[in-house]
């Protein structure tokens, strides 16, 4: 089934070479030709943006918004300084696709950043890497950037074209929230990573108050080849609404966990095959198809679903960042959500109320249930908290924390119920009357 699959053609195209991340490899594979062509022929910005819009490339960070349209939000006539920011703060649990692009194909990202900067009229671009990338990933990108500078592809008066684009690399300090685009802007400005309220949107008022475009690593790394091969090449794979290739990070109970770049619209079954099938021949129980913040889907639904934005949305979840977490029949779903809830509890920035208070509350209720002290009322409460958080926070972290909890109870309610002991299976009104009958309580009240 996986034989005819077009694998690793776009962002991971250097993987077939011996030294995938070197400048020479990238040049040998036709790298920087697009950029040189743009400089040489002074391609119009609008032409580039139109091609990207036409290709149907959608943001690979998770939201899936049309990249070309995002670029077109920049007011080209404005005299303000414009910025491009590459979001390489890949922190979504389960996701590691950007890490491998930075490790094995950093020049594609640099070329993509140059083209995007050119298209939006920015002379300064930042690549913000997550703090945990400080070792090999950061080094790989830094070396690539140095090579690009050395070959005069980045910097002032690039290849004597009068075009100046500087790329700066920045490394975060390890906060999940900085992956949120406006929190990243705050962090670049040297402030605490708190998301900004919108409007104003970054395309109008972003970094240092100037128009700014923020794109994911995979999105930007896809751009050079799209321009090189034309939008039709990109559209030739994938579905109509979700064209092109997408990197999936498959993890969990599979034999060959890893990153796989496949056409969108490939069936989950194929992807599972590609990842070597289920570990130890166990049955598939559940899949989180797009990183820990999207709703979980039961295995049987997933097996009927294709890996593209629309199919997964129809199945009741989101493609997100493409982190496919596979769980087999032995998995305890309450423990899974306990772990996920703890993550959001610890990573909530604390700026706005629903998320700051709600993530902790959800975790504490799940913790209570898992320790065997839960009641039926706790499950009711746990069901209502995500609804209270969703949609009322400044950024999407609130929703990200709420969606998994909601879906886990939805699909695996019986597992939660099994944690609730018989004596706890009383409605709270009875529990209250018990409390008042308690002698100690009455004494204390006096």
């Amino acid at each position: 089934m996986t034989d005819n699959l077009r694998l690793n053609e776009l962002c991971y195209s250097t993987l077939s070479s011996n030294n995938p991340n070197t400048y020479d490899t990238y040049i040998k594979l036709g790298g920087y030709e697009t950029w040189k062509n743009i400089l040489l022929n002074k391609l119009s910005k609008q032409e580039i943006i139109d091609t990207v819009i036409d290709s149907g490339l959608r943001g690979r960070g998770g939201a899936g918004f049309s990249t070309g349209r995002k670029w077109s939000f920049i007011n080209q006539d404005s005299t303000d300084t414009k910025y491009l920011v590459c979001n390489a703060d890949e922190s979504e649990p389960g996701t590691c696709k950007d890490r491998d692009i930075l490790r094995y194909n950093p020049h594609a990202l640099i070329e993509g950043m140059l083209i995007a900067s050119y298209a939006i009229g920015a002379e300064t671009a930042y690549c913000y890497l997550r703090g945990e990338f400080i070792d090999d990933v950061y080094t790989s990108f830094k070396n690539a950037l140095k090579d690009a500078y050395d070959n005069k592809l980045v910097g002032k008066n690039i290849l004597k074209s009068d075009i100046n684009i500087d790329i700066h690399d920045l490394i975060g300090a390890g906060a999940y929230i900085v992956g949120e685009e406006t929190a990243m802007l705050e962090s670049i400005e040297g402030k605490k990573g708190f998301p900004r309220y919108k409007p104003p949107f970054p395309a109008l008022k972003g970094l240092f108050g100037c128009p700014t475009i923020i794109n994911n690593v995979e999105t930007l790394a896809s751009v050079p080849k799209i321009l090189d091969n034309g939008s039709n090449w990109f559209k030739s794979v994938g579905t109509e609404a979700s064209p092109g290739f997408k990197c999936f990070s498959v993890s969990g109970h599979v034999n060959k966990p890893g990153n796989y770049e496949i056409p969108l619209g490939t069936s989950f079954e194929t992807l599972l095959d590609l990842a070597g099938g289920m570990k130890n021949g166990k049955n598939l129980k559940a899949v989180i198809p797009g990183g820990s913040s999207v709703p979980v889907l039961p295995g049987d639904i997933m097996m009927k679903t294709n890996m593209d934005y629309e199919s997964i949305a129809n199945a009741g979840s989101l493609l997100g960042s493409g982190a496919v977490i596979v769980m087999d029949e032995t998995t305890n779903m309450v423990e899974v959500i306990h772990r996920i809830a703890r993550f959001y509890y610890s990573e909530s920035c604390g700026q706005c109320t629903p998320c700051r208070e709600g993530t902790g509350w959800m975790y504490k209720v799940i913790d209570k249930i898992i320790k065997g002290h839960g009641t039926l009322d706790d499950i009711k409460t746990l069901e209502s908290i995500p609804k209270m958080i969703s949609g009322s926070t400044i950024c999407a972290l609130g929703d990200a924390a709420a969606m998994p909890v909601e879906s886990f109870i939805n699909h695996y309610r019986h597992e939660f119920l099994s944690y609730i002991k018989k004596e706890n299976k009383v409605e709270n009104s009875n529990a209250k009357s018990n409390l008042y009958n308690n002698k100690e309580f009455v004494l204390h009240k006096k």
Binding site: A175, T353, E357, G391, S392
Partner: protein
């Protein structure tokens, strides 16, 4: 442009947010983080409302009003969102309202009642936060904090000193100082008011009473020339706390810490409780009638010519009017209020202390020059206005003897020795005279020949830049309150006047006293009668009166350390036949100089009027009846007039006095004409010795503030002497030791030394913050430093 809120149409201006439109039209939207004086944070999510066409609730505070949009503040979506936020806010809130100071005036309490659930579903452990000690003024109870960040934004945006921040993230986020330090902003107390919950409380009134037991009286601050409006909360005939009263023209909704916490001095042990008289060499408490009897016999005809009366410029208009009235009725013409001034060489050119523009206009000024002014500490509210101007891109320059810490940035900050301040201003005039030579509007204005004589060619680049900035339209020159002690204070005022004419800029002298304008208008001057009419019987000024060794001295609401040269004053008082004090406070040591002391009610216990720096008359009522046996000033002075046979009826009451002042002064204001006389100035001498600089500590400016216990616990680096390295080396001081001896006049003091490059060359910077420093003498006097 129009929007619809709850089916009603409202107009809005571009850039307004929905909450602003709603507030203006009386539509209630709950909120915690939003505050109309602060930037938008949109973090509490309490103001979520429904916007038609968007399925998510929108925060009213950050949603810009958009043409033809429709909003609902009470729809199911809006109400549910608000209810949810409320539940979230309360899960980690301790709900200790019965023991919380904020209870009864708490925004969280009110809104929980309106928008909250009856019962909480949260059963887990609540968050507990360690309380940090952030100084003597604010008591923290951070467990109650709801993280609205109003206090953080207040520090960044209003106070201009970033002291608070949110440390940590998520549920563990904590509002605290970055390093474990105290809050030092001179207007930090406003954080207590803007805190919507009981997390930040006023320390002095902490756990001492409940809001609903208090009575509120509007009053006027008495500790600087701004005249901040404030509300005094009264409990059981004493002041419980002081909070701001909104007045957009003056203090907006802020007051300085000094105004907020000075009330603590009311019942200080130094308070004069009963009339005191010296009988057989001993001071004993006497009845009021006995005291008046003694005064009647002691202050009598034969001595009138050899008597002098001094009144504080912080007394009310009524007291000042009655004081000079009483003295002039008995032919005592030696009246003065300028006790901290040392020279009176240019009396006829001196002018009324006033800011030429309203306080509110300072923020629209485009260029400001500060002359030796520690404005951020001494007049925090004005400093806030200058900060606003600064944020409006005004250019701020300063010429000073110490690089004061401002809550705004300066363009040019020129450090000079106060000795050459006069020269520096003449330099500015010289430059201005050259650049304005073609200005036809200045044709009739001549720079006095005596000033021209001192022109010597300009070299200093900074002075040229500073002068150029003054030529910008809407500029302002401010004489700092420190300068009142400057030997050439009157000349400086004249020079500033010339500069303001040449540059068409406004000017203002900041007084430390709240009613200096009142003292002028009521005629508490040797050469002016009430209404600023020239007096025919010109008396002696304060400096002459002290030198003359008169028979009788009368001190009204003044302590000896308020005087420029208090050692000279002390010897005059010792030699005098009779010294009368009408005082609220007296120290045991100072008591020895008096023959009779009458207990005066403090400003809180008396009605009155203050005239602030923009010449605004503000009257206030009595907050509580006088404590102990003290009496209101106007009553004491009226009685004294009667004692000396003044022909006023026994029934004269406060309203009559007000009417009299209104008819004589207020409705008959004469603005002092610019003097036509030819100005002649003394030869400017350049002296070659160290100069003492640094004014009074802002918490040591008047008798009330000096005794406010909490304020005086604020760390203001007491007992430190600052000198720069160059000066120390020139004076052969051993830098390895951190103590030196300073000698000023006859006095000598061992002090801690700090090497500080913010001090000008040949200057020794000391802040007067305790009695020892005051005994040394005032600033701008020669000083000697020696090794230990």
């Amino acid at each position: 442009m129009k929007i619809k809120i709850n089916n009603k149409e409202f107009h809005f201006a571009k850039g307004e947010t929905v909450i602003q439109v709603a507030d203006r039209n009386g539509i209630h939207i709950p909120r915690f983080c939003y505050h109309d004086k602060l930037s938008i944070a949109a973090n509490c999510r309490m103001c979520l409302i429904e916007q038609v066409g968007i399925n998510k609730p929108q925060p009213a505070c950050s949603t810009p009003a958009m043409e033809n949009q429709e909003y609902f503040t009470k729809s199911d979506l809006a109400k549910n969102s608000q209810k949810n936020t409320m539940e979230f806010l309360l899960i980690n809130h301790p709900l200790d309202c019965p023991v919380c100071d904020q209870g009864g005036m708490c925004e969280l309490q009110d809104q929980a009642l309106m928008h909250g659930r009856v019962k909480s579903r949260y059963e887990q452990e609540k968050r507990v936060v360690i309380d940090r000690n952030i100084g003597p003024l604010i008591k923290t109870n951070m467990t109650r904090c709801i993280h609205c960040t109003r206090c953080v934004r207040y520090g960044e945006e209003i106070a201009g000193i970033k002291e608070f921040g949110a440390i940590g993230r998520g549920e563990g986020m904590e509002i605290r100082t970055y390093l474990s330090s105290a809050i030092n902003s001179p207007m930090s107390g406003n954080m207590i008011d803007i805190c919507p919950v009981g997390a930040l409380n006023a320390s002095p009134s902490h756990m001492k009473g409940r809001t609903w037991e208090l009575e509120e009286v509007k009053s006027i601050s008495s500790h600087d020339c701004v005249g901040s409006n404030m509300n005094i909360h009264i409990s059981d005939n004493s002041v419980f706390r002081v909070v701001p009263h909104e007045n957009e023209k003056i203090n907006e909704i802020w007051i300085s810490d000094r105004d907020r916490f000075s009330y603590e001095a009311i019942d200080h042990p130094d308070r004069v409780k009963k009339p005191i008289a010296k009988v057989n060499g001993r001071h004993i408490e006497v009845e009021w009638e006995e005291a008046f009897e003694i005064i009647k016999t002691k202050i009598k005809d034969t001595r009138f010519g050899k008597s002098a009366g001094f009144i504080s410029a912080s007394s009310t208009v009524e007291e000042q009017y009655l004081f000079q009235k009483w003295l002039r009725e008995i032919n005592i013409n030696n009246i003065d209020h300028r006790v901290s001034q040392c020279k009176f060489n240019y009396e006829e050119y001196d002018f009324f202390p006033k800011l030429d523009i309203p306080i509110k206009e300072i923020e629209n000024t485009k260029s400001i020059l500060l002359l030796d002014s520690d404005i951020t500490n001494q007049q925090p509210i004005l400093s806030h206005k200058i900060r606003k101007a600064f944020l409006n891109n005004a250019k701020i320059n300063s010429i000073s003897s110490y690089k004061y810490k401002y809550n705004f940035d300066t363009n040019n900050s020129l450090l000079i020795n106060p000795n050459i301040l006069v020269e520096t201003l003449i330099d500015i005039i010289e430059y201005l005279s050259v650049v304005t030579i073609s200005d036809k509007t200045l044709k009739s204005f001549d720079i006095p020949e005596d000033i021209r004589k001192n022109f010597k060619g300009l070299t200093n680049k900074n002075i040229i830049e500073i002068s150029n900035d003054l030529l910008i339209q809407d500029s302002l020159v401010i004489l700092g309150s420190n300068l009142k002690n400057h030997p050439e204070f009157q000349l400086l005022k004249i020079l500033v006047n010339i500069i303001s004419v040449l540059t068409k800029s406004n000017k203002g002298y900041l007084s430390e006293n709240c009613n200096e304008a009142g003292a002028w208008l009521t005629g508490c001057l040797p050469n002016k009668l009430e209404g600023m009419i020239d007096s025919k019987n010109t008396g002696l000024n304060v400096s002459e009166s002290i030198k003359e060794n008169l028979d009788t001295y009368i001190l009204y609401n003044l302590e000896l350390i308020d005087f420029y040269n208090n050692s000279e004053l002390k010897s005059s008082l010792e030699n005098a036949e009779f010294v009368l004090g009408i005082q609220s406070y007296i120290t045991e040591e100072e008591m020895n100089y008096y023959d009779v002391i009458l207990p005066l009610a403090t400003v809180f216990e008396s009605p009155g009027t203050f005239i602030n720096i923009e010449n605004e008359w503000q009257s206030f009522v009595q907050c509580c009846s006088p404590h102990y046996m003290s009496k209101e000033g106007w009553k004491i002075l009226t009685k004294l007039r009667l004692v000396h046979g003044s022909e006023i009826g026994e029934t004269l009451d406060y309203i009559d006095i007000l009417n009299e002042i209104d008819s004589i002064i207020r409705n008959n204001k004469k603005i002092l004409d610019e003097s036509k006389k030819k100005l002649s100035i003394d030869k400017i001498k350049k002296e070659d010795f160290l100069i003492r600089c640094g004014g009074d500590s802002s918490y040591f400016t008047d008798s009330v503030v000096r005794r406010a216990t909490s304020l005086n616990k604020v760390n203001i680096n007491k007992n430190l002497v600052r000198v720069n390295k160059k000066t120390l080396e020139q004076n052969n001081i051993d830098l390895s030791k951190n103590k030196i001896i300073i000698k000023q006049g006859k006095n000598k003091l061992l002090v801690d030394l700090v090497i500080d490059e913010n001090v000008s060359n040949d200057c020794v910077y000391i802040i007067n913050s305790n009695k020892e420093h005051y005994d040394l003498g005032k600033q701008y006097q020669p000083i000697i430093i020696e090794n230990v």
